[in-house]
Structures are given as structure tokens and as C-alpha cells.
């Protein structure tokens, strides 16, 4: 009887340890956020920049790490040093905009002056509002 309890306990410990390892280091490593179907707050790039410029702490509380759906006019396109595509949406301030890095799986082909809508994570405000993992919204 004791032998059965010990074997059962060992199996349970191994199962819990294995499950925890799988969750932490395999499942979470390969987990992909579903940006397409994620709920988002809609805002224009002009409104978003103005919000951060007038109340950065309040805007951080409202938007940090949230999924935003942002509409604006493309003021610049480019790439990061690792080749990720970037799109900057303009604001009323020529020195500030919304700069988004585009998700590597998303196809996006836009030109300066076009009005587009993108969806991505808001990471805060430097000279631009920074958005990551962005995808275009059709």
C-alpha cells in the first residue's frame, strides 16, 4: 500500500514538473498572440500623439500594452536595423508621430500620404508613440 502511494506521488510530481516546464518553456515560447481577432481601442494617430503630449502619465495608464487600432496618414516608411518594416503615422506635430514596427507575418505595402489603419501593442512614448507587432486592418 505504501509502495503504491509512493509511486503515485512520484508520478504526480513528475507530471506537475513536466507540465510546468512544458507551459513555461515550450508553450509560452511558441505561443503567438492573435492580433487579428484581438479587441482593440480605436483612435487616430493625431489624437494618440496629442494625448501623450498633453498627459503622458494618464496616457500610459490608458494605453500601455493595450491593443490599439490606429488610423492615420503615413508620413514615413522604413526598416529597423534588423529589417523589420516600420510605418510612421503623422500627427499635428511634425516632430512626433506614431511609429509602428510591422509584424513579420503581415504583408503591408503603403506609400507616404496614404491613410491606413493598423492594429498593434502600444509600448509608450519617446519622440513618437511606439507600436509593436502591428498589422494592417482592412
Amino acid at each position: 500500500m505504501i509502495k503504491k502511494i509512493i509511486i503515485g506521488a512520484v508520478i504526480a510530481i513528475v507530471a506537475v514538473a513536466g507540465g510546468s516546464y512544458y507551459y513555461a518553456f515550450v508553450y509560452m515560447k511558441n505561443k503567438k498572440f492573435d492580433m487579428v481577432n484581438a479587441e482593440a481601442t480605436s483612435i487616430t494617430s493625431v489624437e494618440l500623439v496629442k494625448a501623450f503630449q498633453t498627459d503622458e502619465a494618464g496616457s500610459n495608464a490608458a494605453y500601455l500594452d493595450k491593443v490599439l487600432q490606429i488610423t492615420g496618414t503615413v508620413s514615413a516608411t522604413g526598416t529597423t536595423q534588423t529589417g523589420e518594416k516600420t510605418i510612421t503615422l503623422g500627427s499635428e506635430d511634425p516632430f512626433s508621430g506614431v511609429m509602428a514596427t510591422i509584424d513579420s507575418t503581415a504583408a503591408v505595402n503603403v506609400a507616404e500620404g496614404e491613410t491606413i489603419t493598423i492594429k498593434g501593442f502600444c509600448k509608450g512614448f519617446l519622440s513618437d508613440v511606439v507600436i509593436t507587432n502591428a498589422i494592417p486592418v482592412k
Binding site: Y23, A24, F25, M28, K29, K31, F33, N60, L64, D65, G78, T79, T80, Q81, T82, E84, T86, M99, T101, K123, G124, F125, L126, S127, D128, V130, T132
Partner: protein, 182 residues
């Protein structure tokens, strides 16, 4: 005669001011890279931020770097969540920055391609704590485009970053690598 001298002096002053203003150039990027590695055990604990804001002035060497802490990407989402919530408290301290000088900027010839060693001195603010940092790196000039690379270590406790696994799975010192093409 005095009036002539005054006009001449004014002319020389404004000419000199104009020349100085023209001679100064500010280089900037919004897509610089900062890596950090705090691996202390088997699991790699490292992240990269590809949206680093940085500027420097060529004739004074004054430079700034700024990053959003939530902009660091880990391979593992769970690690990223722990990094932000339990260690960096990035909602409370959303930015990290460095403000300082390249102290030997005069040794860099922006008109000549090459790789120049640079010395950097300044203040690094992480987790709301500011500490003095001095390090070395290189500035590569290629076709007039500068690229700065540098690496230094920070002790997490110096920035009041504490947590359960520091000293075990997480190293007590994190290595920070910077690579910014302007």
C-alpha cells in the same frame, strides 16, 4: 572710425556664430538596437529592443539614448511578462535612458571611413534610479554614416531591481549591448 570697428566686429561675430552653427550636426535614429542578457542558469534570459531613440552631436559628443522598457522582446512571452511586472515594474518606470558624452569625439573623423574607438561617460537611468556609467565602444564611419557599438555591464541591485531568481536563473549583472546606425 569707432562705428566702422563696431560694424566689423559685429560682422566677424555673426560670421563666426553662423560658421559654428553650420559646423554642428545632430545625428539621430529611432530604430537603434539595445540588447540585454541576464542569463544566470540554463535558460537564456535575453531580450532586444529595436526602437531605441538616440541622438548625438558631432562636435560636442553629447549623446542620448532612450528606450521603452515594454519594447524589449523576449523569445518567451512568460519571461517578458515577468520581466515587466516583477523585475522592471515597467508600468511605473516605462523608460530607461542614458545621457552623456563621447569624451574623445574629436578623434573621430566623420569625413573618413573607418572604425574609431570611443569613450563614453554619462548617467544611466533604469527603474527610476540614475547611476554614473563609463564605458568604451566603437564608432564606425561608412560613407558619412556613423554607427555606434558598445557593451557594458550593470549590477541589477544598483538600480534597485530585485526579484526571486536574481543570483540564480537571473545573473546579478546584466550585459547591455548597443548598436545604433544613424
Amino acid at each position: 572710425m569707432n562705428m566702422t570697428k563696431s560694424i566689423l566686429a559685429s560682422f566677424v561675430f555673426f560670421f563666426a556664430l553662423g560658421t559654428a552653427a553650420q559646423a554642428q550636426k545632430v545625428y539621430a535614429t529611432k530604430t537603434g538596437q539595445i540588447f540585454f542578457n541576464a542569463t544566470g542558469g540554463i535558460e537564456k534570459i535575453a531580450a532586444v529592443n529595436n526602437q531605441t531613440d538616440s541622438k548625438f552631436v558631432d562636435n560636442t559628443g553629447q549623446m542620448v539614448f532612450a528606450v521603452l522598457v515594454k519594447g524589449f522582446k523576449f523569445e518567451n512571452q512568460l519571461m517578458e511578462d515577468h520581466f515587466n511586472e516583477n523585475y522592471m515594474e515597467s508600468t511605473k518606470f516605462p523608460k530607461a535612458d542614458f545621457k552623456g558624452y563621447i569624451t574623445n569625439i574629436k578623434e573621430v573623423n566623420f569625413a573618413k571611413d573607418g572604425t574609431y574607438p570611443v569613450k563614453v561617460d554619462g548617467n544611466l537611468t533604469i527603474h527610476g534610479i540614475t547611476q554614473k556609467v563609463a564605458t568604451t565602444g566603437t564608432m564606425k564611419i561608412a560613407g558619412g554614416v556613423p554607427e555606434i557599438e558598445g557593451s557594458f555591464k550593470v549590477k541589477l541591485k544598483d538600480y534597485n531591481v530585485t526579484g526571486l531568481y536574481i543570483g540564480e536563473k537571473i545573473a546579478q549583472e546584466a550585459t547591455i549591448n548597443i548598436k545604433c546606425k544613424y
